[in-house]
Amino acid sequence: MVKISRSLRLLSLVFVLALALGTLAGCSGKASRKTILVGASLSLSGNLARNGLDQQRGYELWRDAVNAAGGIMGKQVELKVYDDSSDPQTAAKLYEKLITDDKVDLLIGPYGSNVTMAASTVAEKYKMAMITPGASSKEIWERGYKYTFQMLTPARYQLHQALQLAKDKGYTTVAIVSADSAFPKDLANGAEQSAKDLGLNVVFKEEYPEKATDLSSLVMKLKRANPDVLIAGSYLPDSVLLTRQMKEAKFAPKMIQFGPNGPALPDFAKSLGNDANNLLGVSQWEPSASFPGSADFVKSFTAKYPGEMPSYSVAGAYAAGQLLQMAIEKAGSLKQDAITQALYSMDVTTIFGRFKVDETGAQVAHAAVLIQVQNGQKKVVYPANAAETAPVLPFPGWSK
């Protein structure tokens, strides 16, 4: 029984620690601050860390730009970013911390639909507006939330233009493959719907494990299905793997179209070299965009990260900050309800493009573009009004 009394002491020690932590945490107050504190959690470790990092860079570039221009309503902006490792439960806890412990004035969203799902619930609970540059699954905006705002073209519409292009070219059969997680599957289901709406024939549809190490059998089945168009909803590593194994199996349909995590990302062409040529991707934004401020944004990015080009995630995150600023200035205050009202009524253009949401907070105005890797360079090829050049179609075959 000595054990018990000893462990009791231990236990009380733990409690004292915990309570001390609690009181410490409660100390920092909002009132005493002279800056505007903006908080977010991002996936900075784990599988999706690449996208999280991009978003963090975007937030930081925005902060620097705002502060250099005199801040928001005369106050400097400060950023508080945590790592949620793409875990929804951790993200929920972190947003609780940001709101009730760090007492941030403003929130911005995390990366990934699953994580955003959990984080938006917390934002809703505390009635704080949250602009989400990293989420496009429709379920998030089907829950009747009032404080979550979408920036990206919803996943289910992202491939619509691709199928429109396929139809323009007179292709008739489509095969759709996707990784088996929420976002790629959303893309794939949207593509299937678009194909049906446009009168195209979906001849093959299948999912593969997100962490697949071999897709040779899938490619063989694709070859057997012999579609005109291949649509792939994927993440980066499987985009690269699929491309290589298609080349190895000499599978060359007339059009090869990825979602946003393929040719649109700089790492894709870097990994594949010539094999990336003539593949199509979807991009929410491209450095060549001519929205007000885009060129300056690209310049400030390349100055800070020489040798790199900003991806759509960086630009989206930067624009999320811009939107917050616009909403605050329109509302004339930092009150969350005023900011929320402003966001609902805004129809504006940021460096990322147009922003306008419906009554659920879902995005209705932002337009994605199709890009194609041509001679190692990423070019916008569709729609016509944004295109830098015409798409190379049909796919001329794999390089030697």
Partner: protein, 292 residues
């Protein structure tokens, strides 16, 4: 000429499976060696592969070495890291229950993975890929994958030779079978364990360096491969090299067959079902018989 289509497809699927198996064989060999000699389940194995991959990539890029030369550099570097890990960490818990070393290596895995993330960032990298193909009738073989397969087979044979025919192998086997007895016979078991672990991480590094040619990888790649490696080693029989090679082939073919004739998504189900069935009903592996 007159091969029916379905038969050619079946053959191609099996060939693809064997070629994937070659990748797995190489990846699992190091894990198997460490388990066989040290009786330690190296859960950080995938992260040693990752370090090998990233080192090879960095060396190849900075020094302009060919990917295969970079592979050797990575193997040497990782042998050193492995030796240090064994000498200063694993060795200290070698006589503790097995789960202690497993937790220790989990901590090592956390440090390596997140440290690498800090140093290299989460960017995906890949070395130049040769996707040229040999064609035989209706069948095709990717050259690079054939090379990886040959390396996997060669390495397995080399390890078997090392174990059976050399003095070093004899001391490895003795340590594997009975540590205390081996020590009593005058074998420096501490050194043998260190050599075995270093050899294991060096092999992991080589496989990682090859993977960086086949896949696009970043510091999180370890988690994708480590559990599959465990499945392979178990299917082959823990600690048996010929078994592990067979296990890799079986897993590779099972994957491609499932993907082709059922659904791609079910390939993981097949792998881990096979793993459990073998573990429970044939714990000495599909080849059965003696381990190491």
């Amino acid at each position: 000429m007159n091969t029916p289509g379905w038969f050619a497809a079946l053959l191609q699927v099996i060939i693809n499976g064997l070629l994937v198996g070659g990748v797995y064989a190489l990846s699992a060999a190091g894990l198997n060696l460490v388990f066989g000699v040290l009786k330690v389940a190296n859960i950080a194995h995938g992260d040693f592969m990752m370090l090998g991959a990233m080192t090879a990539y960095a060396v190849s890029l900075k020094l302009g070495l060919s990917p295969y030369a970079a592979m050797l550099v990575a193997a040497i570097v990782l042998a050193g890291i492995g030796a240090l890990t064994q000498r200063f960490l694993v060795e200290r818990v070698i006589h503790s229950p097995m789960f202690v070393s497993l937790l220790l290596l989990f901590a090592v895995s956390m440090i390596l993975r997140n440290g690498a993330l800090h140093v290299w960032g989460p960017t995906y990298v890949s070395l130049s890929h040769d996707s040229s193909v040999w064609t035989v009738g209706p069948l095709s073989f990717t050259k690079l994958r054939v090379a990886v397969f040959a390396l996997g087979l060669g390495l397995t044979l080399a390890l078997l030779w090392l174990l059976q025919k050399t003095a070093f192998g004899q001391s490895l086997r003795a340590t594997a079978q009975h540590m205390d007895l081996a020590e009593a016979c005058g074998i420096n078991v501490r050194r043998v364990r260190m050599q075995a672990f270093a050899l294991g991480t060096a092999i992991a590094a080589m496989s990682g360096a090859l993977l960086v040619m086949l896949f696009s990888v970043n510091p999180s790649m370890g988690e994708i491969f480590v559990l599959k490696c465990f499945a392979i080693v178990v299917v082959g029989g823990l600690g048996s090299f010929s078994g592990a090679f067979a296990g890799a082939m079986i897993i590779g073919v099972a994957e491609t067959l499932t993907s082709y004739y059922a659904a791609t998504q079910l390939s993981d189900v097949t792998v881990f079902l096979l793993f459990l069935i073998v573990l429970v009903f044939r714990p000495s592996g599909v080849l059965g018989g003696k381990a190491t």
